[in-house]
Amino acid sequence: MAHAGRPFGLLRNLNAKVAAIPMMLTVIVIFIGCTLWTVFYSFTSSRLLPTSDFVGVDQYSRLFGNSRWNQSVLNLATYGVCVLTFVFIIGFLLAVLIDQKIRFENTFRTIFLYPFALSFIVTGLVWQWILDPGLGVPKVLNDLGLPGGSLALLGDKNTVIYALVIAGLWQGTGLVMVLMLAGLRGIDSEIWKAARVDGIPAWRTYLFIIIPMMRGVFVTTLVIVASGIVRVYDLVVAMTQGGPGFASEVPAKYVYSFMFERANLGQGLAASTVMLVTVFIILVPWALAEFRQKRS
């Protein structure tokens, strides 16, 4: 980059270093320090307060022996796979449709994106209301004599996670659409002309030329959406409180519950460490791939 590349001594440009203190503190104390603290104490028997009584991997074996945790991991996996799949398909299709030089482009984009401005709490409460078996959509279907009148997505432990998927998709698809639209707009129009000249149908052009060219946008979107999915907490609290039973429990809520409600700190810390490791296993390969690509 075109910056003055002069050699700096330790005390040179002291102002710049003083100004960077908040960032340095955040990185060292919070992002590194707190993470190490959590990993360290996840090997202890801490209950109400942290203690240095080491118990090895005891917390972890207890964690994976806990059906509530295993259920929450399974739920998150189901939720994650469904949301990722549909958010990409619907988001990309909406972006393609909006990219057809349509009228009222701004209006449509505004409508698809506005749920993203709303919190997960608001989203969860609205969909809880819409899916209410007594008064919501199931009742409407019932009144109209249509099948689905007994549809109680939220009350059935086999379907409750899909209710969360519906709400999550409603809230998050607009973001993916905007990112995809930005990606589509970044593609050289010459590509389209060339494809048209060669007589390639539009859908094939999208599938075999445009999508591969948008790899960067896809990776960025994937990382953003995936890291949001791992954190999902508010939506569950607002919509189902993890129920019925633990049928919509998620890891983030498990961690909160053991840390702050059940005074079983060691267990909460072990669970959050597993979350951390999972994120890094998923994230690091993508991040490395991106950085490597940029360097070359």
Binding site: T107, S119, G136, V223, Q241
Partner: protein, 305 residues
Amino acid sequence: MAIATTTNSIASVVEPAGARPRRMFAPSTIILYSILTVAALYYLLPLYVMVVTSLKDMTEIRMGNIFAPPVQITFEPWVKAWSQACTGLDCSGISVGFWKSVKITIPSVIISVAIASVNGYGLSYWRFKGSEVFFTILLFGAFIPYQVMLYPLVIIMRELGIFSTIWAVVLVHTIFGMPINTLLFRNYFASLPPELFKAARVDGAGFWQVFFRIMLPMSLPIFVVSMIIQITGIWNDFLFGVIFAGNQNFPMTVQLNNIVNAVQGVKEYNVNMAATLLTGAVPLIVYFVSGRLFVRGIAAGAVKG
């Protein structure tokens, strides 16, 4: 190749904008708009249901269906949601949470944007040994699940003596808003012509002088984008509010959830929906007023440096 060029030039004569001219009522156009309209209706439906429900009384809710417009419009649910709805034992409405959210959001946004702008400026023009390493870790830190840092943060806040105050929430928002906003400012400042910086340096301006006299006056767009991201993000926060604010300072999202989910007895759906709309109003207004800037902010926030 020659053939392709000719076809191209012919094409450019026929369609000056480069797009295929489309007849108004061609089947493909009708299908296109139909799909978009249906999708738009689907996305609007929850907002419509919220508004309609909040304007009905309870008997009408029990009798009719959730999509039916109110027969008799009543604003009582709104009044009740604002000033009388109960969260546990306390029945003074969601207005309490509203003002707490205002008190949390204003300092959080100012402090986090101020720090992020200085960080971004420093990282663009005043790099020092290790500054890029710090920045890279900061960006990676953005993907660490919050749950990993929650408990140690509680201890830190307790040691600082600010646990259960709005300042704990402000500090946490500043910390977790730092990665994305620093990135935005860093990329923005890096896109400005470096001659500006050099000329100011030749004239003898130092770190802060360059920042306040040269950079700040030029960075209104990125300030707006960063503030939109922070305002909506902080207003919509739930987790940090629950943990760090303390019962007396619960922000609006937490209070809303308590009103709807913790109340015993009859569920007042109309009051709940009015409270939900009131909670969503601030980010929605920000979104509708800022329009394109919001979109640009999201697209920019997603572009990794």
